[in-house]
């Protein structure tokens, strides 16, 4: 069967929809990610208690760090779902494009991570009193998430098949996402002042985030079938 474009997208969407349905019934991914983020934010608040101004200044960096750490939990969980009951093997037996599986996984994990970010943004507005609701900030969060998840699904698909399982993911993924955190935190921080920055000031970081997205998605689509073949 020659896969067509429409079947590619509908397959990807079906896989993402399946993940969303599972999540609707079990709520295990969101609850773990949200609880973990809450604990992390509270912990940071305590750790920086002595200097509240410092906490406010590093808030954007903390936001990104929390997203990445909580993201590894979510990624591990979405991959573990496929491993349990050999669901992945069944998926691979189906006459569908391997890349559609990758796209579906990226889609569902992106949705979970974006939902988490929504909650985190509210939390950070309350705790750190920062104008995180600004549309450009939300756009940066959205763009950064795509790249992170694109790399994350690829790495998690590998790490879940190893002996170390979920322990390995942060060790592999966090260094790989450092070139994303740097421009993302920088661009987010630029919007934290009463006066909004000119687009020229944040143009380079945003371009870098988009470049990261493009490169990681390309890497994902070109190498994913090497990882899932058995």
């Amino acid at each position: 069967m020659k896969p067509t474009t429409s079947s590619f997208f509908s397959t990807a969407w079906t896989i993402a929809w399946k993940d969303l349905q599972i999540e609707k019934h079990t709520r295990q991914i969101m609850s773990v990610m949200v609880m973990f983020s809450l604990v992390t934010v509270v912990m940071f608040n305590f750790a920086l208690e002595t200097n509240l101004d410092a906490a406010r200044n590093v808030a954007t960096g903390l936001l990104w760090a929390t997203i990445l750490l909580a993201g590894t939990l979510g990624l591990n969980r979405t991959m573990a779902v496929e491993r349990e009951n050999q669901a992945m093997d069944t998926l691979l037996m189906a006459p569908i494009n391997r890349n559609a599986i990758y796209a579906g996984k990226v889609l569902s994990t992106t949705i979970f991570t974006l939902a988490l970010e929504l909650i985190l943004v509210l939390l950070f507005i309350v705790f750190f009193n920062k104008p995180l609701w600004r549309p450009p900030v939300l756009l940066i969060l959205f763009l950064g998430t795509i790249g992170y998840v694109a790399a994350g699904v690829l790495i998690a698909s590998m790490s879940i098949q190893t002996r170390a399982r979920d322990v390995l993911l942060p060790v592999l993924l966090l260094p790989l996402s450092l070139p994303l955190v740097l421009p993302a935190a920088m661009a987010t921080a630029a919007y934290m002042f009463p006066q909004q920055p000119l687009f020229a000031e944040v143009q380079t970081p945003i371009m870098l985030i988009m470049l990261y997205d493009a490169l990681m998605l390309t890497a994902g689509f070109t190498t994913y079938h090497y990882i899932v073949e058995s």
Partner: protein, 243 residues
């Protein structure tokens, strides 16, 4: 290539590496002039750049080997990638230590979060994780495949980090001046001399880079040979236990 032929080549390479190292030491300590401001401590620069150069080359070799492995899963390419990443990581550590030792008199601090140093840190972490990944997979064919994918993504990360850290200069001009950037600093260091002395330094630097390239090639082949020996020992053990 059969093993005796490989062994002979390795012997030749090893002796060439020793010879160029002796020449390099002589050039760095006798031919190269002392730096005007820093004095003799600047001589560490030749080893620092040489080691960093090998790091970059080794990771590039690993990338190429990774791509080749995915196109044609031959164990040879996996061995080359493994050997390259190992050597690259060691040379990167050497460059970092040498740079740190040089940084103390030059900047009066062992470490700065300057763009280049940040990039080195990311590269180090990324390639150190490569061994964690390999160590967690038992199946040889799968290990090769995953390691090849990882090495490609890792190289992408280094390129992206290289681009990202440029930002630190654009947005925080105070944090990163000309001084903090080691390469730029070196360039400025070289320019402070009259033409004759600067030329001597550049010649020394080139000799150093050539020497380190030979050293890398020698290490690479020795490491590949070691891997072959390792594999034959494993094969022999298997035969013994199957009896």
């Amino acid at each position: 290539m059969n093993s005796t032929k490989l062994d002979r080549r390795i012997t030749i390479l090893n002796w060439t590496a020793v010879a160029t190292m002796i020449i390099n030491l002589a050039v760095v300590f006798l031919y190269a002039p002392p730096e005007k401001l820093m004095g003799n401590v600047q001589r560490i620069f030749y080893f620092h750049v040489g080691a960093a150069w090998v790091g970059a080359v080794a990771f590039f070799v690993a990338l190429v080997a990774g791509i080749l492995y995915l196109r044609k899963p031959d164990r040879k390419y996996d061995t080359i990638a493994l050997a390259s990443v190992e050597i690259g990581l060691i040379f990167l550590s050497m460059a970092t230590v040498a740079g740190s030792v040089w940084g103390k008199p030059a900047w009066n601090t062992w470490w700065l979060w300057s763009p280049r140093l940040t990039m080195i840190t990311v590269a180090w972490l990324t390639y150190a994780a490569y061994f964690m990944l390999r160590g967690a997979i038992e199946d040889e064919e799968k290990r090769g495949r995953f390691a090849a994918v990882y090495v490609i993504v890792a190289f992408l990360t280094i390129i992206l980090t290289f681009l990202s850290v440029r930002l630190m200069r654009d947005i925080h001009p105070v944090l990163v001046g000309g001084m903090a950037d080691s390469a730029k600093g070196a360039e400025q260091g070289l320019q402070e001399f009259e033409d004759g002395l600067a030329t001597k330094m550049i010649i020394s630097l080139n000799i150093s880079v050539i020497n380190f390239s030979v050293l890398f090639t020698a290490w690479l082949f020795n490491r590949i040979r070691l891997q072959h020996l390792n594999e034959s020992v494993t094969a022999l053990k298997m035969r013994l236990s199957n009896r």
